[in-house]
Amino acid sequence: MKLTKLLTTAALALGLATGAMAQDKLKVGFVYVGPVGDGGWTYEHDKGRLAVEAEFGDKVETVFVESVPEGPDAERVMTQMALDGAKLIFTTSFGFMDPTINVAAKFPDVKFEHATGYKRADNVSTYSARFYEGRAIQGHIAGKMTESNIIGYIGSYPIPEVIRGINSAFIHARKVNPDVQFKIVWAYTWFDPAKEADAAKVLIEQGADVILQHTDSTAPLAAAAEAGNIIGFGQASDMGEYADGPRVSSIIDNWAPYYIARTRAVMDGTWTSTDTWDGIGPGMVGIGEITDKVPADVKAEALAMKEAIAKGEYHPFTGPLNKQDGSAWLAEGEVADDGTLLGMDFYVEGIEGTIPN
């Protein structure tokens, strides 16, 4: 009896000791929707993770789980991370929103950061980037460069973030080319290279000579390279390996500064639940180098637009703009408010087709 008691105490003491030692290091967890080698979305988040390690060295320990399906399984992964001692957890896909909120309720001491969502709690922040600013520049280049006047767009899921991108690209393509048409295909996946490539091929077969994508892998660019004479853009990451092929520019997500700032806030004890939505100006959205395939004047216009957006002089959603059904949305010179943009569930005038529910 005594022996058992002694052993229990010893074990307890040991447990406390190791617990105390672990306290010195801040454990930061990352939940990814795709593999870190997808070359796009998850790849960039993982670059952010590595930047946190580089910044804080021995003071942090990072862990990540990749290819986590959006759904109940995500809750299991987050719970396990929290149980393993992670004090700050980044969940990096829209579909992790409800799981994050659920798990956060169970672990009030753990800080959660959810990317691209809109639900917050005392220990849940949200953060996203204004990708639509980059989409405006893409749309401009696409509208100028298309010869068939058909632009193919591969969407993932019909959520506001994706719809915003379609609208922004369309508005700016139409502005420079009134004949332009968008063909939109929903892949219903973030990451499935075979399906993304199939979608790109279908769009090319139906006459598109510009492919825009809102899925995570480089497969659409590979399909475009195979077809030849098609242009496309890097999505989420530079995808520069296709620069001598179809890729003429890209939207780059730069999460590193945010991840470092938030990790530091947890270390300092200054972390509070916030909502961050940054664009080209603060550097969360980058525009990858525009290649020589783009005519010099188009490139200059695109860069001028980037500059104007960065300085806050131009907003991609500036009136006059109508909704798809013809009803007025923004009056001349009026700028869309963030609330409408965050919940965007309509196409602007001129886009054909309906948004799936």
């Binding site: 795709g34 593999p35 870190v36 080698g37 997808d38 070359g39 290819s67 193919g152 019909p158 063909k183 939109i184 295909v185 929903w186 219903y188 996946t189 990451f191 499935d192 290279p193 075979a194 399906k195 490539a197 199939d198 979608a199 091929k201 279908v202 769009l203 077969e205 139906q206 006459g207 892998s217 480089t218 497969a219 590979a222 399909a223 390279a225 195979e226 995808m239 390996e241 296709y242 092929g245 054909e352 087709g353 309906t354 799936p356 529910n357």
Partner: protein, 306 residues
Amino acid sequence: MDLSSINPILLLASLMVAATPLLLAAVGELVVEKAGVLNLGVEGMMITGAICGFAIAVNTGNPLLGVLAAAAGGAVLSLLFALLTQVALANQVASGLGLTLFGLGLSALIGQGYQGIRPPSFPRLNIPGLSDMPVLGRILFSHDLMVYLGLIIVTAVWFMLKYTRAGLILRAVGENHEAAHALGYKVVRIRMMAILFGGACAGMGGAYISLIRVPQWTEGMTAGIGWIALALVVFASWKPWRVLLGAYLFGGVTVIQLNLQAAGVAIPVEYLAMSPYLITILVLVIMSADKSSAPASLGRIFHASR
């Protein structure tokens, strides 16, 4: 809605391309299951084949060598499963799941440094006369060789299972391994060979995705097609022709639904997106009403002493 923008010739041609990886993996798994072994590692063997084939094709510049390497890669990985389940008598379900996880990790490791590289393009069949025929030439006679290889393998498997002594023995092992053993057939050896064949087919299916369908290497790029192949074998009631039908249906509906979306057809996209799964299952379930059932020894461990 503008259906005229869909080109039926290109549609049928891309249908065959979309179906081929699934067909290869499923027909391999069919042979494995006919021998009474349940290998849930199809996804792992496919992705391993995808990277082995890709790496060799890039390094040698020869896509055909890549396909051979993919078959070898898938087979070597399946050998691990064979040793675990046939020699060490491990549980087949657990070993198969383990094989998938191992294959995904291993392929990511081998694949470091192969991202964003364009593989050498695969030769297309070009028969003077036949390939130039209007309509039929594009649909039937101008694919890459792998499409035909898939069809040849299905035919060969069907013929072997139905008309040859080897097929009879394979089926006997799958239906009742003790009886087959009593008759003097080497159950373990036959099963090992079936598993290796299944691994090679899955590997080639994976390489088809990384070398031809996409073509590039991305981690986890098979994205669940191995699991669909497993389900397809069951829904096809372990019959090669039904596997072919199922694979073409699945590939076909996948491509058609993307085409319909791009053409702006007014069917809700959610229904279009789920249609490949739904239609394939429906057709095969209706067809399997003839009470054909699984091989009786499927998934059971065999030990000669019992």
